[in-house]
């Protein structure tokens, strides 16, 4: 187990290095640079700026400097928000994204298990058909559509009732988080519902369910103790990878709801060609996702006793 963990971590480091390198070169190939603004800048000023930020050096040297700094945990400073360190920006904004993401995962996980279990209970009856229809919509409609529609509905509700039930945008307390988190988790919830449904239907005809019934265990207890518990295992497996889709979904949702998270800052950085923030955020997110997948793998081994001893 220890060796396995070490192996996975080394693989993870290589992955992050690859992400950093690819992003660095792709970023430099994209036309435009941080100093193209609405105001025209004289060639002398531009040359001065470039010299100051080290952008006049050959790309290979820039890459070397960036890599050595990154290894020391320093992502440099932002071009656009002058003299703010990228580390500082990540530290300030990531907690906001993390809260939103965790809430979205909780929504997705609980909703997926609940609706999946319901569809399996009412197989081929109207609740099943209705939920599966919603699942198809949930999987195929992108989150920015849900975000806009969600906002619109919120506006209408607030108007009809004459006061703000929930705020339409912004950040602050829990009331700001509910709708964005729900929107963010919707796609994953739909995916998990489908997974849970097939898992439940597979378990319901398992031999050990028949055994439980032969013991006279009441139906509700057969459902909760025997069926649900085993059906939920595959759902846990995919929770790790779904962190990735929630994270990327966050870029869009944060922008639409005006949430000051890392995703919003990343999108802004891309628009401004803010090299430091782009690199820092990408490497940070890359490392975060790789770590999440490793953690879920280790977690699964801990949850399923059969995996534990191997």
């Amino acid at each position: 187990m220890a060796w396995y963990t070490v192996k996975r971590l080394i693989q993870g480091i290589i992955t992050v290095w690859f992400i950093a390198t690819a992003t660095f070169w792709a970023m430099h190939e994209v036309p435009g640079d941080p100093f193209i603004g609405e105001k025209a800048v004289s060639p002398e000023v531009e040359a001065n700026l470039k010299a100051r930020w080290g952008l006049d050096k050959p790309p290979l040297e820039q890459y070397w400097i960036f890599m050595t700094n990154m290894l020391q945990g320093d992502f440099g400073i932002s071009f656009a928000q002058e003299s703010r360190s990228v580390n500082d920006i990540i530290l300030e904004r990531f907690p906001v994204s993390a809260i939103l993401g965790i809430l979205a995962i909780v929504f997705a996980g609980l909703g997926g298990v609940l609706y999946g279990a319901l569809t399996a209970l009412y197989r081929n009856q109207w609740p099943d058909v209705l939920i599966i229809l919603l699942v198809i919509i949930g999987i195929s409609v992108p989150s920015f559509v849900f975000a806009s529609v969600g906002q619109l509905i919120l506006v209408v509700i607030n108007q009809i009732l004459g006061f703000n039930v929930l705020p339409v945008a912004g950040w602050g307390d829990i009331s700001h988080m509910l709708v964005p988190a729900l929107v963010l988790g919707l796609g994953t919830m739909a995916f998990l519902t489908r997974l849970m449904r097939s898992s439940m239907l597979e378990i319901v005809s398992a031999d050990f369910i028949r055994t439980a019934r032969s013991k006279g265990v009441p139906a509700a207890q057969v459902f909760s103790r025997h069926q649900l518990r085993n059906a939920v295992l595959p759902v846990i497996t995919v929770l790790g990878p779904s962190v990735a889709s929630i994270t990327t979904g966050g870029f869009v949702v944060e922008n639409i709801f005006g949430i000051p998270g890392l995703g919003q800052s990343f999108v802004l950085a891309v628009q401004q060609s803010d090299y430091g923030v782009i690199m820092g955020t990408t490497v940070f997110y890359g490392a975060f996702l790789v770590l999440m997948v490793i953690i879920v793998d280790l977690l699964y081994a801990w949850i399923d006793p059969r995996v534990r001893l191997e």
Partner: protein, 334 residues
């Protein structure tokens, strides 16, 4: 009155291909301390018979269309509850064929054995777990207290089946239904499991219904036998009557197809030619007629009733009709 009495049971399944008549008029009864074996080849309806009585087949597609089942005089087809208590796991315990898949993989063995005690006896979890360890000890699992906290994947097949037995007898049922309890186990473990069941029966006086296709197991364990074929009981009686005074050509066929220790050409195995009838549309006459070496005209047109002989021995065969010219006794030597 018998402890468990089943009469004229019919079970059907609705499928896309039509209606399968899986069980067609099965009778049997079993008394306290007695062991009844239900034998027959795969697909003859043995398991469906007992599982339908226990309410374990999914309905729909399954359906009990006719017949009665009484446990101590209580109708258990209409309701699985007697005096406010579910009979399952309480008055009737069950063990199944494949212990590897019949136990919940994410629950400890102890918790699974404790479950019926919590449900039927109102034990606290702690009490039930202590009792579970005692039960594991009773089915001869070493270090029972430690084993009770382990999961099914940490047990061998034989130990899992012992645990299943411990679970089935936890509430001291008056009937134990064993649905091919030793089929999935290797031969030495089979013998151990059967001996264990027998010794528990001696201690508790419970009745056993043993479902098997292994005639060796029947000879070892059973007092009475019902031979099933195509959803019907072809022959029933004491083990001695059915084995040594077989009265149905199907029973004779089974015996000839069974390996023995004797050598020589005369003891070559003889398979029964043909295959069982299609239960989507069972034959009008005797369901064994197509494979029977003694088929007469009447067999093809009319399904015989069971002809009773002495001591509860009965066979569903026209050869025993009084007007039949072939002497049924001649068959015994076959």
């Amino acid at each position: 009155m018998a402890l468990l009495d089943v009469k004229n049971l019919h079970v059907e399944f609705t499928t896309y291909g039509g209606i399968v008549h899986a069980v067609r008029g099965v009778d049997f009864s079993v008394d306290e301390g007695e062991t009844l074996a239900i034998v027959g080849e795969s697909g003859c309806g043995k398991s469906v018979t007992v599982q339908s009585i226990m309410g374990l087949i999914p309905m729909p597609p399954g359906r009990i269309t006719q017949g009665t089942a009484h446990l101590r005089g209580h109708d258990i087809i209409q309701s699985k509850v007697i005096d406010g208590k579910d009979i399952r796991g309480n008055f009737v315990g069950m063990i199944f064929q494949d212990p590897m898949t019949s136990l919940n993989p994410t629950m400890t063995i102890g918790a699974q054995i404790a479950e019926p005690l919590e449900v039927h006896r109102g034990y606290s979890h702690r009490q039930a777990m202590n009792r579970a360890a005692e039960l594991l000890d009773m089915v001869q699992i070493p270090e029972a207290a430690k084993r009770a906290r382990q999961y099914p994947f940490e047990f061998s097949g034989g130990m899992l089946q012992r645990s299943m037995i411990a679970m089935a007898i936890a509430c001291e049922p008056s009937v134990l239904i064993a649905d091919e309890p030793s089929t999935a186990l290797d031969v030495t473990i089979q013998a151990q499991i059967l001996d264990l069941v027998k010794s528990i029966q001696k201690d508790t006086g419970m009745a056993i219904i043993l479902i098997t296709h292994d005639l060796g197991v029947v000879a070892r364990l059973a007092d009475t036998v019902s031979v099933m074929y195509a959803g019907e009981v072809m022959e029933a009686g004491s083990v001695d009557d059915v084995f040594y005074r077989s009265a149905h050509p199907y029973t004779l066929g089974l015996k000839e197809a069974m390996p023995t220790n004797q050598t020589g050409r005369s003891r070559q195995l003889k398979p029964i030619d043909g295959s069982p009838p299609d239960l989507f549309s069972p034959p009008k006459g005797c369901s064994y007629a197509a494979r029977c070496p003694h088929t007469m005209e009447v067999c093809l047109e009319n399904n015989p009733n069971a002809f009773a002989m002495q001591d509860g021995h009965a066979a569903k065969c026209w050869l025993h009709h009084e007007e039949c010219e072939v002497e049924a006794e001649d068959l015994y030597q076959a």
